[in-house]
Symmetry: C2
């Protein structure tokens, strides 16, 4: 399929629109739509929240009568099934759209190709594959869950330049600067859930929530969402030995919590927003791979791992990390300070965990590195 | 003093020229000169090597008769004293230059202001301060030595993302990639001397020299210097306990070596290119501060520190580092691998060594970070 430069511009706009949903659409994907008629954008829309109207519906509503005869640019193949809303393929057809260009087909087996088929049958021209890479990047979590049955796991790590996370006595406030910490808030807000270990919740008395006032210092403000519209990511904590107690700060924030455990704790009085989820054991610990599959079945697309060196190391060792985000502070803390990742002892350099750097940025006085695990073929 | 946009362009050219000397001028500073007459460059030159002609002399030679009535742009105040060559201030005057613009005055007390005075007395107009910052950056070592009586110390460190330099069993080949290692060769070649510890020379059997064939894969090639013109940096090794022996690889490369020791080793048969330098003790070790002063008095401007975690940590702890260059490889080696810098145990986050990131670049698959110690006022 040959696309024109104009096609590219409109699809790029649809991708920009899709991004506006990144704080709110979970568990749905981010989708944007642009309707163009006679070289003019007549309608635009994006999906904001599950249960609310899809991008195509919003764009058609904006276009009104002008939708008739227009071409639709959609970042994802229009849906063909009745979910919480009617199928968009039908909606586009009814609105009189004559051509639909999708950036990518739907990875969901319930939909893939069917939306295009409905349109074709109705005499609507279709094409796909325009800016596909960019469209894929819109929804790492949704696509990973559809393809692998697991969430997309981002492992966040923060350290000094010499890879240290705390002094020997445990002090760690603060290693990174305020801008980096705001950036973490922003990433938390874009993930469906945050995963941590019992140690972090107990020893650091961490809340692991998104603080609206911090978020308001980030790009989040561009979306003009108020604090009521802010969705708190689900907070997930691994507690194989049932060491958590309801009096911890973590349980003072009234938003959904999942405790992953190998044995239900029936003695504690957990608040109503806390769910215990049973996961089988493996080597005396929670089986992390099974845990991820369970979380995906609860519609968690993007999982943000913020844990200590043991749990982060375990995820890394088991190859369960899809992306790393490192914050490196301009500090040297010395060899007697605490390390970043606990890994088994390697006896050969060929065994170490290899990554690929994808992006390096200055965030305030710190450096942020985005990396992916190197795929071993 | 008001400078024009044209002035800036010519001085920027003089600075570019000065950089061409960066592999060879030691212990002299890098200097460039441009002669301009009626809006045209009539002569250009840079200083290439101590004992050879200065930038101004080269520019005048190129201009010939056209030097008469020209303006000279020089990155450093023209010298006024007889060193290995006659004073340039005199040369400029004799050549009929009518105006001299210097980027900066000379920091050398033997020269500072005197070159300009000679010119002024001869009726040559002078000005200075144009692109001064850029001119200062040409000669960190020379300026530091003139101002503080110590060399400019660059501490090079290379590690995995989690700050590790070797496996528990000592394996470390290779952490960084070939591009980063070529970059180190290029930096070695630009420094007057390389400083390391006896451990590195003994345990790694390191040569610490510049390999021409590796250098030829870097920007060095742009200068069209052949291997005969390559100056090996002086190799300096700290050996307070006289553990070094002449059979090590380090001593197989026939280029100047200085052994810093607290007690001369008179029993070993050192090759002719090895000098033992006596330095007083401090806390049972070489007094590093005194060592630096001694090295500066031997005309070492830029010192490249490539050492293990103990010596690097000591320099950092004693605040003797002017600049850090970190190479970070996309690898995780785990907490049981070996650390980057040995520092005293800190009990409060306020005590850790704070740096400022100046530059971050990708070098092949690795990241290079240039940082400076944060000045505590």
């Amino acid at each position: 399929m040959q696309f024109t430069q104009e096609d590219r511009v409109y699809m790029a706009r649809a991708i920009e629109l899709a991004k506006k949903g990144r704080y709110t659409t979970t568990p749905n994907p981010n989708v944007g739509c642009v309707l163009v008629k006679s070289g003019e954008i007549v309608g635009e829309g994006f999906h904001q929240k599950a249960g609310q109207s899809h991008a195509e519906v919003n764009a058609i509503a904006m276009a009104g009568e002008k939708a008739k005869g227009a071409t639709a640019y959609v970042t994802l193949e229009p849906c063909s099934h009745f979910g919480l809303t009617p199928p968009c393929a039908e909606g586009l057809k009814k609105a009189g759209i004559i051509k639909v260009i999708s950036a990518m087909v739907d990875p969901n087996p319930k939909v893939s190709g069917k939306g295009l088929a409905i349109l074709n049958e109705a005499g609507v021209e279709t094409a796909h594959g325009l800016l596909e890479k960019e469209a894929i990047d819109l929804n790492p979590g949704f696509l990973t869950r559809m393809k692998t049955g697991k969430p997309f796991v981002t492992c966040k790590l923060a350290s000094s330049l010499d890879g240290k996370t705390a002094l020997k006595n445990g002090q760690s406030k603060w290693i990174t600067g305020s801008k980096a910490r705001q950036d973490v808030q922003n990433l938390r807000a874009q993930n469906c859930a945050i995963l941590t270990g019992a140690d972090t919740v107990i020893l650091d008395n961490a809340k692991m929530n998104v603080r609206y006032e911090e978020l308001m210092k980030t790009e989040f403000t561009e979306l003009n969402l108020n604090s009521d519209q802010l969705r708190q990511p689900i907070r997930i904590v691994i507690d194989s030995q049932n060491r958590l107690t309801p009096d911890l700060e973590f349980f003072k924030i009234s938003s959904p919590i999942i405790i992953l455990t190998t044995k239900l704790d029936k003695s504690s009085q957990w608040p109503h927003f806390v769910t215990q989820m049973l996961v089988p054991e493996r080597d005396g610990k929670i089986d992390l791979s099974v845990a991820l599959t369970k979380l995906a079945s609860h519609n968690i697309n993007n999982l943000f791992l913020e844990a200590g060196h043991t749990l982060s190391g375990k995820f890394s060792e088991l190859d369960l990390v899809d992306q790393y985000i490192f914050y490196i502070a301009p500090k040297l803390m010395g060899d007697c300070s605490k390390g970043l990742v606990n890994l088994p002892e390697f006896t050969n350099m060929m065994q170490v965990n290899e990554l690929t750097f994808l992006e390096v940025t200055m965030i305030g006085e710190d450096i942020r590195i985005i990396a992916s695990p190197k795929k071993t073929n």
